[in-house]
């Protein structure tokens, strides 16, 4: 049953007193345009087939043209906005600085690993060969304290990372 038949078959009370059936038929429900497709069409992101389909749909709904024209004008104006290029000096040594940071981090990581190995080995040797128990005890406590400090800092850092609400974005 199409809209015309439904309108004609409705009881008179449904349309209100004095309203003719023809008038009810004339009141066509406004169909909202498919806004998502409209965006893709205006941005040139619809594939050929979908674009043609949308154009056929547009022909059937001339009432969408005003909204389309408004949106196209806005997109046109926005497209003309460009970020002002930064001063040329922004690009001076841009990559070199990144490269330096990468090199520095790698160097630091290697140096840290080396230092940890040496310190561990040093502690072991001193404890093994020290002839004084107090020296052994002092070295042992120093080593344990440093290890505890390192663990606490590491744990705090991990907790901070876990609480970081953007960490998923990083992945």
């Amino acid at each position: 049953m199409d809209r015309t038949e439904r309108g004609a078959n409705q009881p008179e009370s449904a349309g209100g007193l004095g309203r003719l059936p023809d008038q009810r038929v004339m009141k066509v429900k406004h169909v909202e345009p498919p806004h998502e497709k409209m965006m893709a069409y205006l941005d040139g992101e619809l594939p050929e087939k979908a674009r043609l389909q949308f154009e056929r749909l547009l022909e059937k709904h001339p009432e969408w043209r005003v909204e389309m024209a408004d949106m196209a004008a806005l997109i046109g104006a926005t497209k003309q906005l460009k970020l002002k290029p930064p001063a040329a000096k922004v690009w001076d040594r841009y990559w070199e600085e990144i490269d330096n940071k990468l090199g520095r981090r790698m160097g630091l990581a290697l140096a840290l690993a080396g230092a940890l190995i040496l310190i561990g080995f040093g502690f072991y040797k001193v404890i093994m060969y020290a002839d004084n128990d107090f020296v052994k005890l002092g070295i042992g406590l120093l080593g344990t304290g440093m290890l505890m400090l390192f663990t606490v800092i590491l744990r705090a850092r991990l907790l901070e990372l876990r609480r970081d609400r953007y960490r998923r974005i990083r992945k």
Partner: protein
């Protein structure tokens, strides 16, 4: 700033594969190709030239460190943009924005210009004013709307790239763009009506 597609997907894949093997020179080529886009992205988020430079560089450093986790065959920029966005949001959360739209509208407008002057002084002035109003209107949008407008128009990202960068379906990209533009249109109308 206009962003030409820097590489063919094949070329980009080759560079990324080399970078994954630790080749910093290959990564440098990617940086050279994407630095302007990256800078524009950071500038849209932070609205500060110095921060944009530093953060876009830091994001490249982080990207190189995480490059082994990158899935070859996918485009590089949306993946990089997620790192950049994360850094910028964290930076803004910690330090706050250095400029605010309510402070000096003119300062915000400094970032924007119409690309090609027409040669007609009056028309150019009108276009500049229009640009200024549009920029102010964009600044008034909700952050998620402002971001998607910047991604589409200032960083010239495709729907596919935006979807990957924000990890949302393409349908959501279209819908968010529509609502952002609708809100932008309303703000512009309010301005024209003098409300």
């Amino acid at each position: 700033m206009a962003f030409e597609p820097p590489f063919s997907p094949e070329e980009e894949r080759r560079l990324l594969a080399r970078a994954q093997r630790g080749d910093r020179h290959a990564f440098g080529e990617l940086v050279e190709a994407y630095k302007e886009r990256a800078f524009a992205g950071a500038l849209s988020l932070t609205q500060n030239y110095d921060d944009a430079r530093d953060l876009s560089q830091d994001a490249f450093v982080k990207a190189f460190k995480a490059i082994k986790r990158f899935q070859l065959g996918r485009p590089f920029y949306p993946w990089y943009y997620r790192i950049l966005r994360n850094l910028c949001l964290t930076h803004l959360e910690r330090h706050g924005p250095k400029r605010r739209v309510s402070l000096e509208l003119l300062v915000e407008v400094e970032h924007v210009q119409f690309e090609a002057p027409t040669g007609d002084v009056v028309e150019d002035i009108q276009r500049q004013q229009m640009a200024a109003h549009l920029r102010v209107a964009i600044e008034k949008l909700k952050p998620e709307f402002k971001e998607i407008i910047a991604m589409k128009h200032f960083e010239e990202m495709s729907y596919e790239e935006i979807a990957q960068a924000l990890k949302i379906p393409i349908g959501t990209v279209m819908s968010r763009l529509f609502h952002a533009r609708k809100a932008l249109g309303e703000l512009m109308r309010e301005h024209v009506d003098g409300r």
